[in-house]
């Protein structure tokens, strides 16, 4: 009795079918492919696109609890942070990040009046905002390296909602989706 073998030509000839399924016709090439895939995965998901899971309510309803997304750590290499970008903000490291929206750019003055945002006295139109709430906040002058970040969930109490002027070095990258 003989083992079942493939009828293929070249390198595959005589190789048992189970071996082809497990390691391919050419084990050396398979190893190279695995190595390249692992390296690419490490580079893409470790260095460029950081997988993350939403854990807090401050960006609801745009981003809901438990949603999976990616943080593009290279996004600011080519374009500086812009208004209405949703960005990740680092704490002591990058394991836990705040997810916030940029509403103010360096040098601007930001003020909340009955839930409406004024940038340098001009009303900011926020189409992403589903449930505005009557927040009132004194004007905050941003420094040359500061961005005003806030979540989309303004139904939360302003005191419980982490928002304010963050330094550029705290911003990791834009949210991909």
């Amino acid at each position: 009795m003989t083992d079942a073998t493939t009828e293929g030509r070249g390198e595959g000839r005589g190789t048992p079918w189970w071996q082809i399924i497990l390691i391919g016709r050419n084990p050396r090439m398979t190893l190279v492919r695995i190595g390249v895939t692992a390296l690419l995965a490490w580079f893409v998901f470790g260095e460029v696109l950081r997988p993350m899971r939403v854990a807090g309510p401050s960006m609801e309803p745009t981003y809901r609890l438990g949603q999976i997304n990616f943080l593009n750590r290279w996004s600011f290499k080519f374009h500086p942070p812009a208004r209405s970008d949703v960005v990740g903000v680092r704490l002591a490291g990058e394991s836990v990040v705040y997810l916030k929206r940029i509403i103010g750019l360096p040098g601007e003055r930001i003020r909340f009046v009955r839930g409406q945002v004024f940038v340098d006295d001009d009303l900011l139109v926020e189409p992403y905002l589903k449930n505005p709430a009557p927040w009132n906040e004194a004007e905050l002058q941003l420094g040359p390296d500061e961005y005003f970040l806030v979540g989309d969930n303004r139904t939360m109490s302003a005191r419980d909602h982490t928002h304010g002027a963050f330094r550029r070095s705290k911003l990791i990258g834009r949210v991909l989706l």
């Binding site: 854990a55 807090g56 309510p57 704490l91 002591a92 490291g93 990058e94 394991s95 836990v96 705040y98 930001i110 909340f112 927040w135 009132n136 906040e137 004194a138 905050l140 500061e146 970040l149 302003a158 005191r159 982490t162 928002h163 304010g164 002027a165 963050f166 330094r167 705290k170």
Partner: protein, 170 residues
């Protein structure tokens, strides 16, 4: 036994001994990490603990603070001033024990820097997650000053790091 096999065996034994020594005699940085991670484990409650178990955990947390420890949370909580002294910390925790539900405390991105033989600083992000249908998640950055007293690394000062400028809410 061939010569190479003998050397291999010696290498394996030495590596094993080094591993055991590493486990049994941690250096100062690892001791500090153990203190901080142990505190996070003690601050984690399943919600099924009885009062004695809660008090035991609170005692363990308080025991990781130096006698003259200070906790500064004014940046993030509406407190009048810092908590001063291990006993004050213990009393505060004990007062809150009956209201403590299920909560998981975790430490991330712990960076320890030794200042000298008896002091060090640690920067970390701590998260607290409550379980249940309305499970809430919150994270906060902290800076800790660690002090070595009688051979033990204890928390000398805790400061909540705000990391941004808050607007003046009216």
């Amino acid at each position: 036994m061939s010569r190479s096999s003998r050397w291999l065996m010696i290498g394996v034994v030495l590596a094993g001994l080094a591993g055991i020594a590493w486990r049994l005699w941690p250096n100062d940085e690892r001791k500090i990490r153990q203190t901080i991670l142990g505190m996070a484990a003690d601050a984690t409650f399943t919600g099924h603990e009885g009062n004695f178990a809660k008090l035991g955990k609170i005692g363990s947390i308080a025991g990781r603070f130096a006698e003259d420890a200070e906790v500064h949370l004014e940046q993030v909580l509406p407190l009048d001033g810092p908590l001063k002294g291990r006993e004050t910390i213990r009393q505060m925790l004990t007062a809150g024990a009956p209201y403590m539900g299920a909560v998981t405390v975790q430490v991330y991105d712990l960076q320890v820097q030794l200042v000298d033989d008896v002091s060090a600083t640690a920067l970390l992000t701590a998260s607290a997650k409550t379980t249940g249908k309305k499970g809430e998640f919150d994270a906060q950055e902290f800076e800790l000053r660690m002090v070595k007293r009688e051979g033990r690394w204890l928390v000398g000062r805790v400061e909540a790091v705000l990391g941004y400028r808050k607007p003046n809410i009216q």
